[in-house]
Amino acid sequence: MNKVMDQKRLKDFFIKHIVSIIFIVLSLIGMMLSELSVPYMIGELINRISRNSFLVLSLLIPILAGLGLNFGLVVGAMAGQIAIIIVTYWRIGGLPGFMTCLGIALPIAILFGYLTGKLFNATKGQEMIAGLIVSFFANGLYQFLFLVLAGTAIPMKNSPMIKPDGIGLRNSIALTGTKDHPGIKYALDGIWRMKLCHLIIASAIILCLYQGIRLWLRHRNHQLEKKHKKTFMIYAGLSVVLIGINVAILLGDSMYKNLKVPMVTWFVIALLCTLTWLLMKTKLGQKFRTVGQSQRIAQVSGIHVNGVRIKAVIISTVLAAWGQIIFLQNIGTMNTYGSHMQVGMFSIAAILIGGASVSNAKISHAVTGVILFHMVFIVSPTAGKALFGDAQIGEFFRAFVVYGVIGISLGLHGWKKHMLDQINNAHTRS
């Protein structure tokens, strides 16, 4: 009996996490095929985690509020880029410049979010396609603003951002600034970079201490049992092994020594996770959940559904704007007319790979998704080269994976819903 149960549980686990499992397999195959060194891959991965996590996390609230995947993220990213352009024009660099960016982006993103939310309320049931289309629509206006109005209606004299003919902004804008006026590149990442080895050692020590204190408290309250001791021993053993490995790496001269983590960026990401989690515990968070489960029930229980939905979109848009600023301060050059367009798609693909669906997402999905998605992204060109002798194929495969994941996830969700509907219909008939 037990065996059957276990098998069923295993099967359920596989079905539930099928997308993530496929991606783990894909990235492992890719890692084997590609000739990239492991330290290089880990370094790239750290870089991409710090760059993209904030953007992916900005998807959470709309999913929980029943709006599905917010393809309108792109509009938020535009707000972030408008702020970056303004701050670069004023030549405010470093951390002050970065903070000014966040400040300027806030009201713009709130306005954009409000308008997008209004649109989503007018297109209920079609929010995802509306989000995709609105990003194209907004892109037309964005291009008009920076290709036509900048330098003509909006005077931007003598700025290095303006094209040589004086009309419109250049295709790419460097955020490195000049010697006298540094830009916002690495404004956040560069505050404090810690060696990965040091970080792991520190984490291991903290974990050990935490478990030790818990053990001691239990001991003082006379609640100590055998299993608690066992748990502590496991943690302690693990920590010692980790510390050992990392000390060995630091003493040796492998490439792993030089891997660094932008601590402040990671702290900001952790803070966002915590705040999102806390928000879902508040009254507003409860409203998000209720509206997400059923708009009708929410309406009956006196919740102003449309208002709640708009709030969810505004939060998402503001976070997307800030996420884009964090993303670009890491990249260091802004592709004026292209940087924002990929944001929605990549973030959505990442969160889906992490195991989220159209109606359910957790913080862990976002974090797992970023790691898996970018692992495949790092290895696929070189893997494609190794397999077919052509890196181009890896690139195409990468794009296919992004679109395919979104298509398949939405398809599966639609299929489940369709099945449920049929079962419900059968019930109502009988």
């Binding site: 049931g125 194209f136 629509f137 036509v148 419109g168 939405l410 398809g411």
Partner: protein, 342 residues
């Protein structure tokens, strides 16, 4: 006044006024009107069938066919095979369609099956199915063993991004029975072919199968009750839509003189969706007349706004921005009219 607006439809009214405004501006700017007229007529025939592909899918209740690239790729495949075999002139054109048809029917059938399994959020799924199919085919264009010198890279492997049809079937329809009215070039063959296909689709919608599909699309519950097989209707409509997209892109490529592979088809669904919506269709109802009006207005507006915008503002690509805003604004407007409340 309000009544008149309601009758014509707000989007159609706005685009018409814009179109007339741009035309008048073009006249006063001294842009050669006969060139403009020739261009509008040519693009009307070029884009027409791609827009026509929207009719069956809207009528069957699936909504506008955002997965148009799927059919387009079948058509491109047909064109590529035809060139590979070395068919020339009108034969090349006909064989491109013959090679594309079985592919389009098969793919349309499979895609219709898929859509029947995921009722509810078809539009987004369609868009991304189309996108991923285009990317998958990018790999195929690189790897498939084609050898015609007109199509493959001289160095390296795979088909070119864009290749010319000059030696095969470029302009075969445009030049068929063509003549000039004054200085305006009339591509008779192209227009006749488009109108002929329109007529066939119109006759199909009036046939018993077409009426059943229409009824099921309009009122699913009623259709189910009266014993119409909805799923079968949706599959037939999808096959038709995919076949039309395949034929549409062959006509487009022939009239344009080039075949665009790889990322070319990626964004082709959106202008086609916008055109039929401007013509007066909704996400639930479409007629062949909507296609004719929509293509004329939308392509007309785009064709005329290009030289006009360039005269006023030589730098920057204003007509492209106008296209983005108009095209996607129209689609958004139509989405607000879809009743998807659960």
């Amino acid at each position: 006044m309000h009544h008149i607006i309601k009758k014509i439809g707000l989007p159609r009214l706005i685009i018409s006024v814009l179109f007339i405004g741009v035309l008048v501006t073009a006249y006063f700017q001294g842009i050669e009107m006969h060139m403009l007229a020739s261009d509008i007529i040519r693009r009307f025939g070029m884009y027409g069938i791609l827009v026509l592909a929207m009719v069956p899918s809207i009528q069957s209740g699936v909504g506008p066919n955002f997965a148009l690239p799927i059919g387009i790729i079948c058509g491109l495949m047909g064109a590529v095979i035809s060139v590979e075999f070395g068919f020339i002139g009108i034969l090349g054109f006909i064989f491109a369609i013959i090679f594309a048809l079985p592919l389009a029917i098969l793919v349309g059938y499979l895609y219709g099956k898929l859509l029947n399994a995921v009722k509810g959020s078809e539009l987004t799924i369609a868009t991304y199915t189309g996108f991923s199919f285009v990317q998958l085919m990018c790999i195929a264009w690189l790897l498939l063993p084609f050898s015609s010198e007109q199509m493959v890279w001289a160095i390296g492997k795979g088909l070119r991004n864009t290749f010319t049809l000059k030696k095969t079937f470029a302009y075969v329809l445009n030049n068929f029975w063509s003549f000039h009215i004054g200085d305006v070039f009339i591509p008779t063959g192209l227009i006749l072919f488009f109108l002929g296909v329109c007529l066939l689709v119109f006759l199909f919608t009036k046939s018993s199968t077409g009426t059943a599909i229409l009824a099921a699309g309009m009122n699913p519950q009623f259709a189910e009750a009266s014993g119409v097989n909805m799923d079968r209707g949706r599959i037939i409509a999808n096959i038709l839509s995919t076949v039309l997209a395949a034929i549409g892109i062959i006509v487009y490529s022939s009239s344009y003189g080039f075949v665009q592979l790889y990322g070319g088809p990626l964004m082709m669904a959106f202008p086609a969706v916008a055109a039929i919506l401007i013509g007066g269709a909704t996400a639930k109802r479409a007629k062949v007349s909507h296609v004719l009006i929509g293509v004329l207005l939308f392509q007309g507006l785009l064709t005329t706004s290009m030289p006009v915008a360039n005269k006023i503002f030589p730098e920057g690509n204003i007509s492209e921005m106008v296209r983005m805003v108009v095209q996607n604004g129209i689609i958004l407007y139509a989405l607000t009219k879809v009743d998807g409340r659960q």
